[in-house]
Symmetry: C2
Subunit: 262 residues, 2 copies
């Protein structure tokens, strides 16, 4: 999709850590020099929301205006809801760019499937806008200085060059200071597996409930996969596509005989 | 992945319409002749849950035993939660097959992204099990006779032949009687777009809330895409892959210069 953008470009920001998370403030600062910024984000944390949309409940909208100039809409839904409601209801236009994040924690390898941050960008792509997800690949390192610089750099290039239809960028940033960054590499989506562990607890009525805990295990050996790129101190830019067809299998299986009229 | 299955095979059933939906009963009937059936499904409808997992709330588990022999666990979570909790907590083994559905409503084209049904199968694939999602491509037609036959047929073949790692099948069944089925075709994931509409209502305190309503618009012309295959009276079997990398774009973008130490 070649850029046919308004001037200044209109940029929609969402995230999955919620509108009050530090990462969305860093993304706001990163986008402000690039265009007209609109913020529509979940009112509370929606980590692990993936591409969920809210169909069985209505959405409530609260205006958030802060003294530092940050202003937007907080939604009782998921990142995908935010993008749909922004484009279909609140803004009534398709932005020139949708950015999501900056997430606290990596969204590389299989995490891209569970991620609400990535889904916010994917929904932007589905709605016809170039879209980028940004994640700081650590749950502990809380300095968004490098992440903010990278967000400006990548968004600037996407605004200039556009993205193919059916594509979005998933950017994972290593938890290092700008001076320690090794570089920026394109990467493929790696493979990882979760060792899930369910912690059983009991409520005051002695009924059990379970907390999901998972440990991510990276299965990759290819150094071009996103987990390994980030772990070696580079920013990983993983281009993702919306089409999930396994084309190799289509040929292998072929059509099936079906005894008509059986 | 070649089948290394127990005898009789152990089959895990989940869905996103909830454990009390008619479609999961049809899937139970379809699987019973094929092996040892285990059911772990959401306690309430989770349509549109996509691949969400529940990280910020615990999961509660209720045993469901019905007089017709249907017995399983109802979970206060999503289809992906169900598969994770089944394999990681309740069953403590990886089943020989994970099946999800039978969903009331199509999960073809872009719907595969929003679908909790498809995500249940995708989570099975991530956990190393062959996995299939089944959907009856109509919200109104409520006769699962053909869907049940198709589920048995496809599951039987997958148990026999296995599936490649990183693959799952997304099966959409047309709303017709068995005698009217045209056949079974492999299909690719089609493209569709949603025209979203938000209906604004007001609560008794006069505060607004919004209901998401979307109209799916099929954008495909290629007759091998799943929406068009189903609309022409065939079962569409769409092989999906877990890897979402846009490999074409990786080459085009290449690595970026990053002024080190800036």
């Amino acid at each position: 999709m070649s850029p046919k953008r308004t001037n200044p470009p209109r940029i929609l920001i969402t995230n999955d850590d919620g509108i009050h998370a530090p990462g969305i403030m860093a993304l706001y600062r990163a986008m402000r020099p690039l265009g007209e910024v609109h913020i529509v984000a979940p009112v509370v944390e929606k980590s692990g929301a993936a591409h969920a949309i809210t169909m069985t409940d209505p959405l409530k909208v609260t205006r958030v205006d802060r003294e530092d100039g940050f202003s937007g809409f907080a939604i009782t839904g998921t990142p995908s809801d935010c993008v749909k409601l922004a484009i279909g209801g609140l803004l009534k236009f398709t932005p020139d760019l949708v950015v999501s994040g900056i997430n606290q924690g990596d969204n590389s390898a299989t995490n891209a499937i569970y991620s609400g941050t990535v889904a916010g960008a994917r929904e932007g792509a589905l709605m016809g806008a170039p879209a980028i997800a940004f994640s700081l690949a650590s749950f502990r390192y809380r300095d968004f200085t490098l992440s903010q610089k990278i967000a400006t750099l990548v968004a600037e290039r996407v605004l200039r060059e556009g993205l193919p239809e059916d594509a979005l960028l998933n950017v994972n940033i290593p938890p290092v200071e700008p001076a320690d960054l090794q570089g920026i590499k394109m990467a493929s989506m790696g493979k990882s597996r979760y060792e899930d562990f369910f912690e059983e607890r009991f409520n005051p009525q002695k009924q059990p409930y379970f907390w999901l805990q998972g440990r991510k295990i990276t299965l990759d050996e290819d150094p071009r996969t996103d987990d390994l790129v980030v772990n070696s101190g580079y920013v990983a830019i993983t281009p993702l596509q919306v089409d999930q067809t396994h084309y190799g299998m289509m040929d292998r299986f072929g059509d099936w005989d079906w005894p008509l009229g059986e």
